[in-house]
Amino acid sequence: MPHFEAVTVSGARLELETEDLGLRTAEVLGLMDRFRRKPALLRRLAQTHSATGPARSRLVELSLVQGIHSLRDGRPRGYSEEIVSVWRER
């Protein structure tokens, strides 16, 4: 399951569902390679998100994180996360 992690201008760390940024989970899965190749797309998502909230919740960092379940004999045996793409405001 993919999700986003963000840092606001006030330093708060947020975990965002894909829907919080206007995308359905399956859409993020379909766009995963594009996010990986072009982290600037995360900047545009962050800008869109920031435009609708108060100034202190403006995002200065946004990461796309993919959850990975490992299986053994067809049964889930572990969980890890991969950071697919990161954008940070300079």
């Binding site: 399951m1 829907e19 206007g22 995308l23 359905r24 989970t25 399956a26 859409e27 993020v28 899965l29 379909g30 766009l31 594009r34 797309l41 545009r44 998502l45 800008q47 869109t48 609708t52 379940h69 299986l71 004999d73 067809g74 049964r75 889930p76």
Partner: protein, 333 residues
């Protein structure tokens, strides 16, 4: 003089005659004479569903207007046609127009024109829906239904009779429903290969969105692999839904059971597709709990058949009469 009846010599089976008979049989299959009322009721269900869909089940499409334009990857149709990149304003206009035209089509106001408008607008609504990295297959039959329904005669006088045009429209929806299943199996085998059957697709789906019914099943991978075999077997057998008689009915109810199981385990509703499955059922027999008025052909005031087809006034509410006219008719009986 006596005439010989019957013929002891078998008819010649020329290839042309065989082809002709096959073409005639195919024509009868594509254009079955079905009750016009069936397609009228089905049309009402479809346009009512479009309203519900735009407001409730596909509301997330509205989010796409807020997304950066770079994420818009139009489908082939969107690359061929000069369709605009979605904006909040564009999607609001499409949504409003869809609601207005669907409501007009629902009440049979200029049904051909409003039906075509609904189809074009809903197609664009779906192009927007599916141009951000995900394409659903549960709306294919609905799009086909919206495309063919405007071809059905809007003449209310035909409602009681049999109609090949109605049969053709319903047959198209049925074929689209079957293709949805069959092509889903093809896609699984095309992209996943035969190994898809032994893969972990259902495990992944349960981990992602399993319900309390599905979560315990994760401990039984063999059961889930068996379910994958069953799913593909059902999808490959789906053309049998078009068969007459018990076989077709069994497959149809298997489809409903399949979707009930999918919803109970994964909360995937396939509502647009389920609505189109109704094309297989005699929906004209459905009776809403409220009184129904059926529109009849208008005849002139002086026309001799003005009341001839109305029957006794107490046989339901099929005719539209004013309270005064109704009282007059009752008093004369």
């Amino acid at each position: 003089m006596a005439r010989e009846i019957g013929c002891s010599k078998p008819a010649t089976q020329t290839p042309g005659a065989v082809l002709q008979r096959a073409a005639a049989g195919l024509g009868r299959w594509w254009y079955p004479s079905l009750p016009h009322n069936r397609v009228v009721v089905f049309r009402g269900i479809i346009y009512a569903f479009v309203i519900v869909d735009v407001l409730l089940t596909s509301f997330a499409i509205g989010w796409h207007g807020e997304l950066p334009g770079e994420l818009y990857q139009p489908l082939l149709i969107g690359r061929i046609l000069p369709l605009p990149v979605p904006t909040p304003l564009l999607l609001s206009v499409i949504k409003t127009a869809l609601l207005v035209f669907s409501a007009l089509a629902l009440v049979r106001k200029m049904p051909r024109l409003t039906g075509i408008a609904v189809f074009v607008l809903y197609l664009e609504w779906m192009v927007v829906n599916f141009s951000y990295g995900k394409v659903d297959h549960d709306r294919f039959a609905l799009l086909v239904a919206l495309a063919v329904l405007p071809t059905v005669s809007p003449n209310a006088a035909q409602d009681e009779g049999l109609d090949e045009a109605a049969g053709w429209a319903l047959r198209c929806v049925q074929v689209a429903v079957v293709l949805t299943y069959f092509m889903a199996a093809y896609a699984k085998l095309r992209f996943g290969g035969i190994e898809w059957l032994n893969g972990a697709t259902l495990v992944r789906a349960i981990l992602r969105r399993g319900t309390v019914v599905a979560d315990p099943l994760i401990a039984y991978p063999a059961l889930l692999i068996g379910a994958q075999y069953l799913i593909v077997a059902f999808e490959l057998a789906s053309p049998l839904m078009l068969a007459k008689g018990r076989l077709g009915r069994v497959l149809l109810w298997a489809a409903f059971a399949f979707h009930a199981g999918i919803y109970a385990t994964l909360r995937l509703s396939f509502i647009p597709h389920l609505v189109c499955l109704l094309a297989f059922l005699p929906v004209e027999r459905l009776r809403p709990p409220w009184p129904v008025t059926t529109r009849r052909r208008r005849t002139g005031r002086g026309s001799p058949d003005r009341y001839s087809s109305q029957g006794p006034v107490c046989q339901g509410s099929a005719t539209k009469l004013s309270r005064k006219a109704l009282a007059e008719r009752v008093s004369t009986r």
